[in-house]
């Protein structure tokens, strides 16, 4: 299979009508496909026991089954809700704190030192404290996500605000822009690229923090599904859960990137930092 595939895709790569992205991507699909094939082969021949890892075909069937019973969508929604709640709280906090620290000298002196201290704390090391403080319900999960989200966005936003071209702020002065107009036309768009880099990092941390938080003691959500499956040695369900996490991460990142492309379309490179 691995030997026939390159020949099969060769005309594709040579076809001039295809976009450059397609031509560049297609050879990259080959090695993952090969790995899947080997995995399936190993499972079928018994080299890879199902207690270690189920076959891809079984995982696919399980995913379908979990979807039709509604178990997977339900768990997915619960996890998504937690992540979004933490993301919303963390983003709001980072925007407020970052704006204060990035735009005012006093704010920088007051806000930045504690934020730099929090930054050095190991996020997941806080889990025991969070359990003591918030119990084992939704609160510690959302709080962990929120705290993970705050730091990357805050740091990038502050740097972006400080990095706004002073020449452009001078232009705003000579054009006699009001404070609101300065924020709208100079400061917000000027800080946007850096802030979006921070937001994408925050989004990544949000999913990571959620996965850890859902190990705490969840009674619903993807983490609960995975923990349950572990007790029943269902490696297929565990893999489906992991794939669901990955899919959520990819989809939300794609949404942010689409927004980024639109918001930063004034750049030559179409918004890539």
């Amino acid at each position: 299979m691995a030997t026939t595939s390159p020949a099969a895709t060769a005309p594709l790569a040579a076809a001039p009508s295809r976009g450059p992205l397609r031509v560049r991507l297609s050879p990259r699909v080959l090695s993952p496909l090969a790995i899947l094939a080997l995995w399936q082969l190993a499972s079928v021949t018994g080299v890879l026991p199902e207690r270690t890892l189920e076959a891809p075909s079984v995982i696919l069937a399980t995913a379908w089954e979990l979807t039709t019973t509604g178990e997977l969508p339900e768990a997915l929604l619960v996890s998504l809700r937690r992540a979004m709640a933490g993301l919303a709280i963390g983003t709001a906090a980072a925007l407020v704190l970052g704006t204060i620290a990035g735009l005012t000298r006093v704010g920088d002196a007051v806000v930045d030192p504690p934020m730099q201290m929090i930054r050095t704390l190991p996020l997941f090391g806080l889990v025991p404290l969070f359990i003591l403080w918030f119990g084992i319900g939704e609160t510690p999960k959302v709080a962990l996500v929120a705290l993970g989200v705050v730091i990357p966005l805050y740091l990038n936003l502050v740097a972006a605000l400080r990095g706004i071209d002073p020449d452009l702020r001078e232009v705003a002065t000579t054009l006699r822009l009001t404070r609101v107009e300065q924020v709208r036309h100079v400061i917000a768009p000027g800080a946007m690229p850096g802030a979006l880099v921070g937001f994408r990092q925050s989004l990544g941390v949000a999913w990571l923090a959620l996965i850890v938080a859902e190990q705490i003691n969840a009674s619903e959500g993807l983490g609960y599904m995975i923990n349950n499956a572990r007790d029943f040695l269902r490696t297929d369900v565990i893999v489906v859960g992991l794939l669901a996490y990955a899919a959520l991460g990819l989809i939300t990142d794609a949404i942010v990137r689409a927004f980024e492309r639109r918001a930063l379309r004034w750049r030559a490179d179409g918004g890539r930092p």
């Binding site: 020449d167 452009l168 232009v171 107009e181 768009p189 004034w266 750049r267």
Partner: protein, 245 residues
Amino acid sequence: MSAAVAAAEPVVRLRGAGRRFGDAVVLEGVDLDIAPGEFVAVLGHSGSGKTTLLRLLAGLDRGFTGDVASGSAPAVVFQDPRLLPWRTALENVALGLRGPDPEGRARAALGEVGLRGREDAWPRQLSGGQRQRVALARALVREPDLLLLDEPFSALDALTRISAQELVSELWRRHRPAVLLVTHDVEEALLLADRTLLIDGGRIAYDERLDLPRPRRRDDPELVARRTDLLARLGVHDHDPKEPR
């Protein structure tokens, strides 16, 4: 000298204006009147204080001493265009514009600088000369009584510079703001301005009118004589031998 022109209330009136940065005196005892509609060029070596003078008149520098009264609505064109990269050409021109139909006026201003059809272009999609013309439109659309030009052509190539100079001359004729043009280029000053100042060591060392009809020719004998004289003055009072002009 300026008293002859100052029939109307002057747009700029400086009396004993000075500026120091730490121990360095950049401007000292500057008296200057600019009449409405007057085109003044300011020559001087790097570090002579001419850009400091412009920033003072633009209201960008509050650390001066002496009496400074500058235009009620000055507009500035800087050495680099300083457009907001995230706003289109039209949005840049219309930025902060008050009064009726800002977009229509911005559109007209872009047309006047020869950029009709480029309204929706991002700054990065424009050439250096086009960007500087957007900056010019952005300044002029505000109908300033004082237009401050800080070496606006120095970053342009020789051919683009000539057409930009002609454009400024044309726009000045049409709108008649008072203009203060800071430049290194003696010929540029003489081609465009009614009056040429030379700043040396933070003081106005030379202030002469040139009443030649426009458009002026570079090889006009009087212009050539004046250029020779000014270059000699720049050479004689040379505090910075690295840069002869």
